[in-house]
């Protein structure tokens, strides 16, 4: 017997993500899914952001990690709410893990929720977690061909943050090339160059966050 069917393989994940997105739209909470290789500075970016904007926004973090709670402890030191998801070796977070983690967070009056995905440029891109935007983080020590090797992430992300720019004098990283390749399939990609170590460029990221959080809040009140 032939069964004609065209079904999205990720429909179950996308259904839960859709519920999360509707819930956060009602609350006016901006949700950002941070995706990068291991070691490019997701946790450092969060530490800076949570500390620097603590007076402006109520923020929380869902930390995806293969095994440890090191990152959750680091971001919780800023005073923000943090909840850890241990994927026990799993290479990505999915919407049902995020939904479960939310039980442990107080989402009332939350302005921004960060989801720090597992360090991996392929798998997390595929699984919608109910976010408003995927943020691709890339560091200059990784090589400027990452956008070429992993085009899907840069195609689906709304912003790319290039981190560790204080190390540019010491590495062969062509910023122009990385930017051009990241934007090749994404004309609207916002690109910001920062150093979490010396704070350079972080104000651009904060401005982007302020605008996105404001837009989300205004849409919720319409």
């Amino acid at each position: 017997m032939e069964i004609p069917v065209v079904r999205n393989v990720l429909e179950a994940n996308d259904r839960i993500a859709g519920r999360l997105r509707a819930d956060f739209a009602r609350r006016g909470t901006l949700v950002l899914n941070l995706i990068s290789s291991p070691g490019s500075g997701k946790t450092s970016l969060l530490e800076r952001t949570l500390n620097d904007l603590a007076g402006e926004f109520r923020m929380a973090v869902i930390e995806g990690d293969l095994q440890t709670d090191n990152d959750a402890r680091r971001v919780a030191a800023s005073g923000a709410q943090a909840v850890q998801i241990n994927t026990e070796g799993g290479c990505h977070l999915n919407s049902s893990m995020v939904s479960e983690a939310l039980q442990a967070l107080d989402c009332d009056g939350l302005d921004i929720l960060f989801i720090e995905n597992v360090g991996n440029l392929v798998c997390p891109t595929e699984f919608d977690c109910g976010e408003d935007a995927k943020i691709a983080l890339l560091s200059v020590t990784e090589g400027d061909d990452k956008p070429q090797k992993y085009p899907y992430l840069f195609h689906k992300a709304k912003a790319m943050i290039l981190n560790k720019i204080d190390l540019l004098p010491y590495v062969d990283f062509d910023v122009k090339k990385a930017r051009a390749h990241a934007c090749a399939l994404n004309a609207d990609l916002a690109v910001m160059e920062v150093s979490c170590r010396n704070h350079e460029g972080l104000e651009d990221w904060y401005e982007w966050l302020r605008a996105a959080a404001k837009a989300k809040k205004e849409a919720a009140h319409e």
């Binding site: 069917v5 999205n8 429909e11 990505h92 392929v122 004309a187």
Partner: protein, 117 residues
Amino acid sequence: MHELSLMASVMDIAREELSRHGAHRLTLLRIRHGVLDQVQPDAMRMAFEAMTKGTPDEGAKLELVEEPLRLSCCLCGHEFTPDDRNALYAPCPACGETVPFSVIGGEGIFLDHLEAE
């Protein structure tokens, strides 16, 4: 590495369709995956074998069809299938301008055909 999760979702959908159509055994399953999704066929096959082993579906055929990338020029609207990855960063083959392209095909993962008995 996400192939195991993908195949688990595929099998959930397949078993739901089989039971809806009163079928008991899967004989063929076809998945269409966009080239951008970076699905590894070998890992998909391994996951499929692991998940069907010892079940009535063991021995069913798995067909994987990779959908090529289709792009449209953001300036002149020309639609084309790039010959290789480098074409993504080359000027538009029609208008010659170096501008971003829109992706109009080659993303998404779909279960698009089932055969059962």
